[in-house]
Symmetry: C2
């Protein structure tokens, strides 16, 4: 009865960064982006089931640390994520993340996973899922403004999920554009580096903005945006951080994940709190309209929501079942007799 | 430049259950309880520095899953903890937990640790730290009502920190009392198993209640409580779960960790929201009085607060520095060029 090695209940599958990268290659990056988009769409369609709350943020001068919990009543999930724009200058990631799933019935964790890679994947899958709903039919070209860590994932997701064949790259730092172009070479996209944002948006039906400054910035000005485009704004994602001129917002039909959170963190923090927005889940379920005319400007004011992380973790949990791409982590104390935690401690000394 | 093994920045020290148990034995359980109490006292004395928020709870029919974040401006910490009273019947722990510390400046995690064992230790250390402040001088005997997973830790902490020499045990399940008595044998305490709560409190200056029913219960009735005792009530720690008759509360001077949380979760959820309570940190800093007379009934209405977990994680982080009692965990993606997450993914395929 005195079993000293951790029981199955005590061991939580852990997906490291290395295992996540192996999993992405095992599945194939474009297949995994499509798979993630399917899981996210499934969960958005059952939106009202979820326990939703704006993220719990701890702000400091340097950045923010956030916890993003949610639950569908059977499975609970949360993500830890930071946002520290100054990190890049010190050789660190602006955003790192990990996440957890747990069984609601017992409270026991069932998956711990890196989520830096996975967040890049799920953000791109979400953007492309929404662009498939809102972009003009037959869209072939995306302008990618901001060529940092998210840019290649966005480009490949728009290819895999929306059928985009060309990306036009621009970043204030031309080294970032060269990096992005080199990474995308040979992956089936026509890649066009550009020397200005105005140049990048030429002929683009989808415009993605993803820059990392923690300040009110104007990446797109009003006169740059013509009729009929879809704007995928993912860089404005915390209070005080926006990318679009307010005039663009007034000309657009605005779509969001979770208004309570987007009004705090998204582009629409620049607008009146009553400005109308449409929730993506309502478009997916047919309760609201998406694009209704060729000349309409649609804007996805994306800040990232806990359900997307939940979906991504759920996908990973399913995918690793048939692989060995995880470590069993001795995270939970699980004595033979649950009331005998102290006995477990004492017996460990005798081992 | 293409380093494929995780860098130091990507590796987070992880303290498993096994390593935590080794650490406790390495330090010595009573020394560690004293060490934890010192760290908790230090942090309670600088209470106003901390970013405080009631825990973020996700309730279900079976129990609750909670995130408890806090920060002192330099270090951020949170704990994941569940409370599922029915788990015991299925051979699972009622409470399991793990926690994390991160650097506020960069947002990078710096410690991941099991916290089932550590929570048992910090809860006991907190109870004893408070009892040292509030119990009558020269207290020798504690009644321990509820002999589950927390009971031995409470007993040893009261010995190590308050100089208690006798514990009187009672549980509705006599097997739990036998378990507790057997575990405490030979550890320097006079252990007296009792057959009723009334018997257990005979001659006790400190009465600790720690039962796990998720319902309004009455573990102590009004006529059981004489003048001069200190009640350490740790089992009433979520909405709908209390252990004391309201009349006891009205005869006691009530001390709490964080009123905003205790009014939701503690014994005082039975009282008017304006009922006066004293915060422990104010007693520690001399801003409020503790025990003022021999006949006073003091009550510590303890629900567990995030700062105690923060202190415990901070203590563990210091203690493991000179040991090898942790695993480096590949939790964070850390490419050579922070903007080149995709390049890191691509290179992992070539490895």
């Amino acid at each position: 009865m005195t079993n000293l090695s951790p029981s199955d209940k005590a061991l939580v599958p852990f997906v490291s960064v290395d295992h996540m990268m192996q999993l992405i290659h095992h599945i194939g990056i474009e297949d995994m982006l499509r798979g993630l988009a399917d899981y996210i769409e499934t969960d958005f369609r059952r939106w009202q089931l979820f326990d939703k709350t704006p993220r719990v943020a701890s702000h400091s001068a340097e950045g923010v640390i956030e916890l993003m919990p949610t639950s569908d009543g059977e499975v609970y999930g949360f993500k830890y994520v930071n946002g520290h724009p100054k990190n890049t200058a010190e050789g660190l990631q602006t955003v790192t993340a990990f996440g957890l799933l747990a069984d609601v019935g017992s409270g026991y964790p069932v998956l711990l996973s890196e989520m830096t890679m996975l967040t890049a994947m799920r953000t791109a899958a979400t953007s492309a899922l929404v662009a498939r709903l809102l972009a003009p039919k037959g869209a072939t070209t995306m302008a990618m403004i901001g060529n940092g860590a998210q840019s290649e994932f966005q480009s490949l997701a728009m290819k895999a999920i929306c059928g985009i064949s060309e990306v036009r790259l621009y970043d204030v730092d031309s080294a970032a554009t060269r990096k992005c172009a080199a990474n995308l070479a040979g992956l089936g996209l026509t890649v066009t580096p550009c020397t200005s944002a105005e140049d990048a948006i030429m002929g683009a039906q989808i415009i993605t903005t993803c820059t990392a400054d923690k300040q009110y910035a104007t990446i797109l000005t009003d006169n740059m945006i013509g009729a009929g485009v879809h704007i995928n704004a993912i860089g404005g994602d915390c209070p005080g951080k926006t990318e679009l001129a307010p005039a663009i917002l007034h000309r657009s039909d605005i779509f969001v994940e979770y208004p309570e959170q987007t009004r705090i963190e998204g582009e629409i923090q620049q607008l009146d709190a009553t400005h109308p927005v449409t929730e993506i889940w309502q478009v997916l379920t047919g309760q609201a309209e998406g694009r209704t005319s060729d000349r309409q400007i649609t804007l996805f004011d994306s800040v990232g929501f806990a359900i997307e992380d939940f979906s991504a973790l759920r996908y990973v949990r399913e995918q690793i079942r048939e692989t060995q791409l995880f470590h069993p982590l001795d995270l939970l104390a699980d004595p033979d007799d649950p009331r005998d935690l102290f006995g477990m401690l004492q017996r460990s000394l005798q081992a």
